[in-house]
């Protein structure tokens, strides 16, 4: 009997949504389970790190890793998986580009820890204790608490990544496409995104055909200001929809719910900085020639430019996050 391909799944700094996303395959999960051997999946299966360590190098066909690299532990585990796997897949926005937890890169590590452990109203921590490695006297052992890294990093800044599966989380179709590509061995060049489209969301957006000849707007609008016409391109209605700069393949789910795209499928192959490109196209179509008016609209209608334009990609951006004075 030929051995089934071995698959590992692991999460780093993520919300858990990507784990759910795998289960969202619904009945196809059973196909998956039949087709592969899962050798590591902390959230669902009781294998330990030691089990992985025992596997021969490159014996795992593919490791699907979600979440960004926030802790020293993440660094350690993904390096181990890299060693044991033929393919490493950055699964989901956080792993691929940092994702929403990556917005923490707008703050210093000290600020983050202070906020989380001292300042949040629901926290009671009078002795100002921070997570640290300590010796448990009762058990007589060293309790190792992983350290928080100075910045959250996308997976490919720590280990080599073979393929990327986009989404926050990846949709069942995208996940299934990616898995099929992996299992069939019918794979694009290393470093590619798999499972999704090679074009921007507009290509599959049902509202693309409603665009005016000249896609120019006089004013950005906030989604809270009005109920958009569901039959008309949201961008043309003034909502800063990020569809043009975002990879397609999601099936335009948000648009179908009358909500603008926020960019969770990330950038396209020819783009190296998502936020910069998003900014460039939005600024371009804002048909205003007065600097002050541009400033006003940014302030009042977009407010948090970095948060809006780098919602899923800040750690993978050219600057990686906020630059702090030393």
């Amino acid at each position: 009997m030929s051995e089934k391909p071995k698959i590992a799944l692991y999460w780093c700094a993520s919300c858990g949504g990507c784990e759910e996303a795998v289960l969202d395959l619904a009945e196809k999960v059973l196909d998956l389970v039949n087709a592969v051997d899962i050798v590591f999946w902390p959230v669902a299966v009781d294998f330990k790190i030691e089990d992985v360590e025992k596997l021969p190098d490159k014996s795992i066909t593919a490791s699907l890793i979600n979440g960004g690299i926030r802790l020293t532990e993440h660094e350690k585990v993904v390096k181990l998986l890299r060693q044991k796997s033929q393919y490493v897949i950055a699964y989901g926005a956080c792993s691929a580009w940092g994702g929403i937890p990556g917005l923490a890169n707008l703050y210093k590590r000290e600020e983050l820890l202070s906020r989380a452990y001292f300042e949040v109203p629901t926290v009671v921590n009078e002795e100002k204790v921070l997570p640290r490695t300590y010796k448990d006297e009762e058990l007589g052992i060293e309790v190792e608490v992983p350290e928080v890294l100075p910045r959250l990093l996308p997976l490919d800044r720590v280990i080599e990544v073979d393929y990327y599966v986009p989404g926050c989380p990846p949709t069942p179709d995208v996940t299934w496409n990616a898995i099929q590509a992996l299992l069939s061995g019918n794979l694009p060049p290393k470093g590619s995104v798999i499972g999704a489209s090679s074009k921007a969301l507009c290509d599959e957006c049902p509202l693309n055909e409603t665009k005016p000849d000249k896609l120019l707007i006089k004013e950005f609008k906030r989604i809270t200001e009005f109920t958009p016409d569901p039959e008309k391109c949201l961008l043309a209605q003034g909502l800063p929809c990020l569809g043009p700069v975002t990879r397609g393949g999601c099936g335009a789910l948000c648009i179908k719910a009358n909500m603008p795209c926020t960019g969770c499928f990330g950038m396209l192959d020819n783009v190296s900085d998502y936020g910069a490109k998003a900014l460039s196209f939005l600024a371009s179509i804002l048909d205003v020639e007065d600097e002050k008016e541009v400033e006003r609209q940014v302030k009042e209608k977009i407010a948090d430019l970095v948060g809006r334009l780098y919602r899923y990609t800040l750690p993978s951006s050219k600057l990686g996050g906020k630059v702090f004075k030393r």
């Binding site: 490109k277 205003v288 600097e291 948090d304 970095v306 600057l319 990686g320 996050g321």
Partner: protein, 140 residues
């Protein structure tokens, strides 16, 4: 400690600012040797990605420069530049890059003197801020 010699990348449009820099040359004006000029046909070609790449690579400052409003060789390319760079300036500030490190300037082909003035000013300001590179935490 070695003197800090800032490096400033200039994206200049072919018709106005690049020509102004040429004129500064033919007029033998002097300005500090801190600038590296990248020519584009129109300031409207300057993709914000280029500016971020420059900072990532270690630019201590970036100037995007083109024709004065109304003078664009391509009708109104510079107005698109104005919008993009106004927004980019705001974003760079949110990212912790001081506004003195990034300038949008209109310098016509005749304004070699203006270029020299901008160049001197920019070097002074950036020197006062210190180098940017060590602050970046980007791993290659």
């Amino acid at each position: 400690m070695a003197e800090f010699k800032p490096k400033i990348v200039v994206f200049a449009c072919n018709w106005c600012t690049y020509a102004a820099l040429d004129l500064a040359g033919t007029s033998r004006m002097k300005y500090p040797a801190n600038f590296r000029v990248i020519k584009v046909m129109c300031s409207g070609r300057v993709d914000p990605q280029f500016v971020l790449e420059a900072f990532k690579q270690g630019a201590d400052g970036v100037i995007v420069a083109g024709c004065h409003p109304g003078d664009c060789h391509y009708v109104n390319g510079n107005m698109k530049t104005l919008r993009r760079m106004t927004m980019l300036k705001k974003m760079l500030e949110e990212m912790g890059i001081e506004k003195e490190r990034f300038r949008l300037e209109w310098i016509s082909a005749a304004e070699a003197t203006k270029w020299v003035q901008v160049a001197n000013e920019m070097v002074e300001q950036v020197k006062a801020l210190g180098p940017l590179k060590p602050r970046l935490e980007v791993k290659e």
